[in-house]
């Protein structure tokens, strides 16, 4: 009775034998009932078909049966003693890409059919691309109709090679090829006697055994708050719990959590499953309700995470968007309602980066609009901050839909690519040393504030304390970096951004090695600091932003380097606080004011607060 659930999506061209294959899986697993079979036999006979047309089983709409095509996703169910399967049978037709996307968004595995005579077609490539884009972890290529190519191993190998060379451009992690004949049942449930050269598993056995337990993200703890449970009467009147479905990671009683976007921290006191069942550890996909130690204002749309492992919080998102609307195009400047997790906010299209031709994977950077079934990389700017991860890291927290405000229709589906990354063929070289094996745990402490606010004094004190305790630490001072690492950079906007980017990357390397990188940079722009945070979050390196909140008048009075005086005289332009703005952090980990005490005292309290 305690089976695993596997969700699969099917794809393939019209006439590849998809319905026959599904029919056979259902039939051989005894999931077609006699009355269903009689019904399709009767209808087939009325239509003059020679055999019972198994497609009638999945084509449930009148229009589909009349036209003999699949318009919309049909969901089918079958089970074996090991697993329960949910099949999203998706349409092959080009014009129904949106329905393929609908069916495939929650799939663990995609099954793509190829006709052995025809080989890899445009449609095969399109479906493989969509499967990869949607992050389906397992791809199973069923090379069907092997009976019509004389069970030829050569032909099978040729198709596999063809597909593999195409798939190299995609993000496919687990790829399996199975030669079969759906019509005759070869390699569907039982090993084929006609293809003794095939040493793999038959399809059904593959579906039963493919390992899916590790596909969910059990590392980054995330719970979007869905609903606040607060009984108004009866015994439970003092109960206040936050209900939601865990979207990633594991949450346990006693865990410290942070509420986003507000940034307040507290501890989990209790976790309940539905109906109040006791839960020790709530992991991804569980629906739970959580009680917290402190009374914090938490509403639907907020997110619970771990203080040292936070999602991105921001208003600018870079994403791949599939467009579903046939009556309105997506264009830069357009506004939509965006639903991301449990958060609903307005979003404006701030840019259309390129439109992707899903057949050739060619990028059209001249595109100005997105039409039905097209896919593009776009930038969005939201009205309220959104908490998200990159889609590759978490399908639940990295996805969103766009809703047309006038018609209420779902017009787009997005997969977040953040952080913005330039494509390249460089891959990460993994080392033999894991972070846990290192003597020390690293982190980056990022000090931001006006020139003269006291960053350097605090940074020096932090470094001294860490080293005195035997911790590796290194101070990266903005001025010092400009003498070496960044000596080729000036003060234009692009150069400033590059300055921050390089510093972030180097700090992340230090932190990864087990050192505490202490960065002291004015870093006036929120977006740049967010990027620094993203660079660390992507590698799961703790990142703390400390805002040295010293009033401009006081900084100018101190003027340790005489820079304010020069700026006032007009000898330096674009000076932060004078003729260039400083964007105050909205959500820093720590705020330090002049009244907090000496650098030594402040360093002491920073240590305590960060748990270093």
């Amino acid at each position: 009775m305690s089976k695993e659930l596997l969700r699969l999506a099917t794809a393939g061209s019209v006439d590849d034998g998809k319905s026959t294959l599904i029919g056979r899986l259902l039939f051989d697993s005894k999931s077609i009932f006699t009355d269903q079979l009689e019904s399709i036999e009767r209808t087939s006979a009325e239509r003059g078909d020679e055999y019972a047309n198994l497609a009638l089983l999945t084509d449930g709409l009148r229009a589909e049966r009349e036209q003999g095509i699949t318009i919309d996703v049909a969901y089918r169910y079958f089970s074996t003693p090991r697993r329960k399967f949910i099949i999203a049978d998706t349409p092959g037709h080009v014009q129904y890409t949106r329905n393929m996307v609908t069916g495939a968004s929650t799939a663990d595995l995609a099954m793509i059919l190829i006709d052995a005579r025809k080989g890899v077609l445009e449609q095969t490539r399109r479906h493989a691309f969509l499967s990869s884009l949607l992050g389906i972890p397992h791809l199973t290529i069923c090379v069907n109709k092997m009976d019509l190519v004389d069970w030829s191993q050569e032909r099978f190998d040729e198709i596999c090679d063809d597909f593999v060379s195409f798939a190299a451009k995609l993000n496919v992690t687990d790829l399996t090829f199975i030669p079969l004949s759906a019509l005759q049942g070869d390699n569907v449930v039982d090993h084929s006697v006609n293809m003794p050269w095939y040493e793999g598993r038959p399809l059904l056995s593959h579906l039963e055994n493919v390992y899916i337990a590790s596909d969910r993200n059990l590392i980054d703890a995330r719970m979007p708050v869905q609903y606040v449970i607060r009984p108004q009467r009866g015994d439970g009147a003092d109960h206040r719990a936050y209900a939601g479905t865990v979207a990633g990671g594991v949450l346990s009683r006693g865990d410290e959590i942070v509420v986003l976007p507000s940034g307040f921290s507290t501890t989990i006191t209790d976790i309940w499953g539905p109906g109040g069942s006791e839960v020790d550890a709530a992991f991804a996909s569980m629906a739970v309700s959580i009680e917290l130690a402190d009374e914090i204002d938490i509403v639907r749309g907020d997110m619970l995470a771990r203080p040292n492992n936070r999602p991105y919080v921001g208003r600018d998102i870079d994403a791949m968007v599939c467009w579903f609307s046939d009556d309105a195009d997506l264009r830069p400047g357009n506004r939509y309602q965006m639903m991301c997790g449990t958060r609903l906010t307005r979003a404006q299209v701030s840019g259309l980066n390129y439109r992707l031709d899903i057949n050739t994977l060619h990028r059209d950077e001249e595109a100005t609009a997105l039409r039905l079934n097209e896919i593009a990389r776009v930038a969005l700017h939201t009205q309220q901050p959104v908490m998200f991860d990159s889609y590759r890291r978490n399908r639940e927290t990295g996805s969103f839909i766009l809703i047309d405000e006038a018609t209420n229709k779902t017009v787009g589906a997005g997969m977040i690519t953040a952080p913005v990354s330039k494509d390249s063929h460089v891959v990460w070289q993994t080392t033999k040393v894991t972070r846990e094996q290192r003597t020390h745990q690293g982190a980056t402490i990022w000090l931001t504030g006006l020139s003269g606010s006291g960053k350097s004094a605090l940074a020096v004190e932090l470094e001294r304390r860490l080293v005195a305790e035997g911790r590796p630490a290194y101070l990266m001072d903005g001025d010092n970096l400009r003498h070496g690492l960044n000596s080729d950079l000036g003060f234009s906007d692009d150069d400033r951004r590059e300055n921050i980017r390089r510093t972030s990357e180097v700090a992340a390397l230090f932190a990864d090695s087990g050192a505490v990188a202490i960065v002291s940079l004015i870093s006036p722009f929120a977006e740049e600091r967010q990027r620094a945070r993203e660079i660390h979050a992507e590698r799961r390196i703790p990142f703390f932003e400390i805002f040295i909140d010293t009033p401009l008048e006081l900084c100018e009075e101190r003027d340790p380097k005489g820079l304010y005086a020069k700026a006032r005289r007009g000898e330096i332009s674009q000076f932060t606080g004078i003729d260039s703005p400083y964007e105050r952090p909205r959500d820093p980990d720590i705020v330090v004011s002049p009244s907090d005490g000496s650098p030594t005292e402040v360093a002491e309290s920073v240590f305590r607060n960060l748990g270093l």
Binding site: M1, K3, E4, L5, F33, T34, D35, Q36, T43, L57, T58, G60, L61, R65, I71, D72, A74, Y75, Y77, R83, R98, V101, T102, S105, T106, A213, S214, R216, L218, I219, Q226, Y227, I229, P231, D235, G236, H239, V250, S252, D255, W272, G276, A281, F283, S285, M286, A287, R306, N308, N309, F324, Q337, M339, S399, I403, N408, K409, T410, Q441, R540
Partner: protein, 311 residues
């Protein structure tokens, strides 16, 4: 990094299929409560609506279910089911709205078929839509499952209905991940199906695992029955006998519960939940095929009724 959660990560974090289905349904039910103003849960006393109500109670524990139940009452009920319904209302304190087909007949809004084959099943649509409009419900939970019928296999979890309550299968909203778009204009509503991915066997296994109380007619009992059109209909005060029909007593149980004039029973000695599960595991006939006369009207019977506003 020493995030404590890292240490918990091993391959034991897997839900069984029933737990996964429960979690998905609870998520859907909470989503509706959080985003709609006036939801309602259709409750017939049948096993699917009983399971749905059970899930709703678990979703909001320890608070009461934050929406009422609505029974679309054909007037042709099994007495055991009405008794069960009233008991549930009394025990849980939930509010019950009844929208009655008899009221529509009395007001002349619908005309009842006559003769031995007459059924009020089709008339339910009017009572359902009237109940929704009169109470200004904006989300209506139904216990329909995709495995029941081929038109239902095509339906979304959040199914948009226009101001006439009609379903347009060709213009369904794409539904991705666990993001459900319930936005609608005044007068329109959304039908919500939290049990979409459950099968008949899942429902029974869950009833067994959770020890859920059902109307007694779901378990084997002796009853006066009439064979008709390959089905066994219960002899009730609502069923007119055709000339020559001879009722007899048999040991039967019901697989679905609906209008007493068109819901058949099956021969069965399964008088406990375990025996029922055993029987369902080996049956070769779907529950609707075995017991629903109304689905036999035409190839697209269900699709056509859903377009009219049926759930």
């Amino acid at each position: 990094m020493t995030d404590a959660s890292d240490q918990h990560v091993h391959h034991g974090y897997e839900l069984t299929h029933l737990a996964a289905l429960e979690a998905e349904s609870v998520h859907i039910i909470r989503e509706v409560a959080a985003t709609f103003e006036r939801p309602v849960l259709l409750f017939s006393g049948g096993k699917d609506s009983v399971v749905m109500f059970h899930l709703a109670r678990k979703a909001f524990w320890p608070a009461p279910v934050p929406f009422p139940l609505m029974h679309v009452d054909t007037g042709h009920n099994f007495d055991e089911v009405i008794a069960y319904r009233d008991r549930v209302v009394e025990q849980t304190g939930v509010r019950l709205v009844v929208s009655s087909v008899q009221d529509d007949i009395d007001a002349g809004r619908v005309v009842e078929d006559t003769g031995p084959g007459a059924s009020r099943n089709r008339l339910q649509t009017t009572a359902l839509l009237r109940g929704i409009t009169e109470n200004r419900f904006d989300a209506v939970f139904g216990g329909a499952r995709r495995d029941e019928e081929k038109a239902r296999a095509k339906e979304r979890v959040f199914s948009f209905r226009d101001e006439f309550g009609a379903w347009d299968p060709r213009a369904q909203r794409p539904e991705l991940w666990h993001l459900y778009n319930g936005r609608h204009h005044k007068g329109e509503h959304i039908r919500v199906f939290p049990l979409s991915n459950w099968t008949e066997l899942d429902i029974w296994q869950y009833i067994g695992a959770e020890d859920i109380d059902l109307p007694p007619i779901y378990y084997a009992h002796e009853r006066e029955v009439v064979p008709r059109d390959g089905m066994l209909l219960a002899r009730t005060r609502f069923l007119q006998l055709h000339p020559g029909e001879q009722p007899h007593i048999d040991t039967v149980r019901f697989r679905t519960v609906g209008d007493a004039t068109c819901t058949g029973c099956v021969l069965s000695v399964a008088d406990t939940i375990d025996k029922v599960i055993e029987e369902i595991e080996i049956t070769r006939v779907t529950e609707r095929g075995a017991t629903r006369a109304d689905d036999r009207i035409s190839e697209a019977g269900m699709e056509d009724r859903k377009k009219e506003g049926y759930f």
